[in-house]
């Protein structure tokens, strides 16, 4: 690995996925994810052999715990349902969706929680997912996009993800995309 690539890897370890101008050359071993606008792209470290942090669990090492893992997982699944409209294509970049649509799918997943509860847990989960770059949430515009980290799911897992998306209900707001 060249010194340049090593520096990029160090930066990615310290900062998470890196957002750089598209003109930047892709360092060795990193995944290049171009944003829809085409001006910026994300650099994501890609470990060999499709290894993901879930390997840590197999090795009986501590994995960084997620707060409220079930609720956060449901919100991420709901966002996938709304944004990953063409399940035959790659997950990234997906289509933009809205906060209301995502929360509506979450509401159908967990019926009977009441709007306040839904709002509270939804906001918490969206903030966590945004902070870890699983989602890109724009609260001002009420817009939700997939974050670069969704591209770190290895290909063999995508079949299970497609199956999961098929099972999930669509948003009832009607203005969603038909997928």
């Amino acid at each position: 690995m060249s010194e340049d690539a090593a520096l990029w890897w160090a930066r990615a370890r310290a900062e998470g996925p890196l957002r750089v101008p598209t003109a930047t050359r892709t360092p060795a071993g990193m995944l290049r994810l171009v944003e829809r606008s085409g001006e910026w792209c994300w650099l994501l470290p890609r470990p060999p052999d499709d290894v993901t942090p879930s390997v840590l669990r197999e090795l009986r090492l501590r994995i960084l715990p997620v707060e409220h893992p079930n609720e956060t997982g449901r919100v991420l699944a709901a966002a996938l349902r709304c944004c990953w409209t063409d399940v035959q294509a790659a997950v990234w970049p997906g289509q933009p969706s809205t906060l209301r649509e995502v929360l509506d799918v979450v509401d159908q997943l967990m019926p009977g929680r009441g709007p306040e509860v839904l709002q509270r847990l939804g906001t918490g989960a969206l903030r966590r997912l945004h902070a870890n770059r699983w989602l890109d949430v724009d609260y001002g515009a009420g817009r939700v996009c997939l974050g670069p980290r969704v591209a770190s799911w290895p290909d063999p897992d995508l079949a299970a993800l497609r199956e999961l998306c098929r099972e999930l209900p669509l948003s009832r707001l009607g203005q969603g995309h038909d997928g």
């Binding site: 997982g73 997943l109 019926p111 306040e116 999930l168």
Partner: protein, 413 residues
Amino acid sequence: MALSCFYSKNVADEQLGLDTAAAEQVVVSVFEQIVAVLARQADAAITDASLFRLADTLFTAFARAGEDGLTAEQMRSACAAFPADVIDNRLHVLRRLGAIQPAFAKPFQHEYRGSFTSYVSMLFVQRMLARGGQSELHQILTMEKITLEGGQATEEEARDAAVRVTTALRLLVAELVALTVGGTVEALRERAPLLWNAKSLIDQASAVHAKLLEFWPGLGRWCGELRSAIAAYEDASTNASARLVAAAGASRALDLLPPEVWRGFARRASVDDLAEVLADQVFDTPASWHDVADLAEAVAGTPQPTIGRSPPPRSRVSDDDEHPSEEWADVEAERLARVAEEVLGDRDAVAVEQLLSGEGWGAARRALADLVAASNNGRLGYRLVWSGTVEVRPGSVPSWLTYGVFERVRRTA
């Protein structure tokens, strides 16, 4: 202000003076230890390092003068940098002890010459001063080994060499043991140079010992004493190192700064200084991982409401539009709406810092809690929008401020 500057300058000068004096004291004490075996009275050694420099200047002048020597006046002018009475005193002592001798063995001699032996002894003293007795011991061991290997030494000389080395090692051991057992860690750390090269010193002494045994098997008794002295030195240096290591903690840095200095550094250092310590370290960003299996499990494991507790049928249209405000049963939402209206007045948005300034932190916190609750309540049409910057304002309330706007949500439907 001016007074304090003056004061601190004075203190600094005094500090400097004390430091210099302490350094001089160390030099003089080494002089005293070196000449102790030759001195007749306890106060016979010089008490001022500058006197040593005077002698150095004097011998340089003699060397330049060559075979003609110097007269008393020429000697005084060569040392003109020193006070006259000091020069007179030194010349008297040096002449009495023979370091300065008449150039020719004639009466009424005015020319003097410097003694070669005295100057060489001065060189020796300087070397002892610079490198310490331990280094001298190294040199002696090397010379003994060469002499013994040359095969010219007699058994008598070999025995003397063994006794000399044994004695030197035993004295070294005694000093180390006293420091290790009775001395403070600081004293031990100051004398840590005694421990440096302990391994090579032991190796050299062992080599001398091997040569002695090889050439003079009859010296078995002396060699046994030398062996025990070497072993004692090995033990003493190991123990002393162990104590230093224990005091130094996990860092194993024997001659580094004491912990107080580190604590002081941590308190007084600038942000840049502290950041530099970690400049070449990389820390992983905490990144959560959502495995696909976990997602599927979370979705599949959704708690299904039991039949008896299912909610009443609801309209498919969102609450905000279809259900007017009379459905608001809870008092809290009404209170929050009142608070929010009071804050907003007839405006559509108001800056948060404007609401919080001028109140104590207790009141400000309550107001902020209400605004956040109103913003999070999905039935109320208010929200808090924060900007990314944080301003630190020491002394004012709140001292950490993020700019934000509390505003009405415009119904888009």
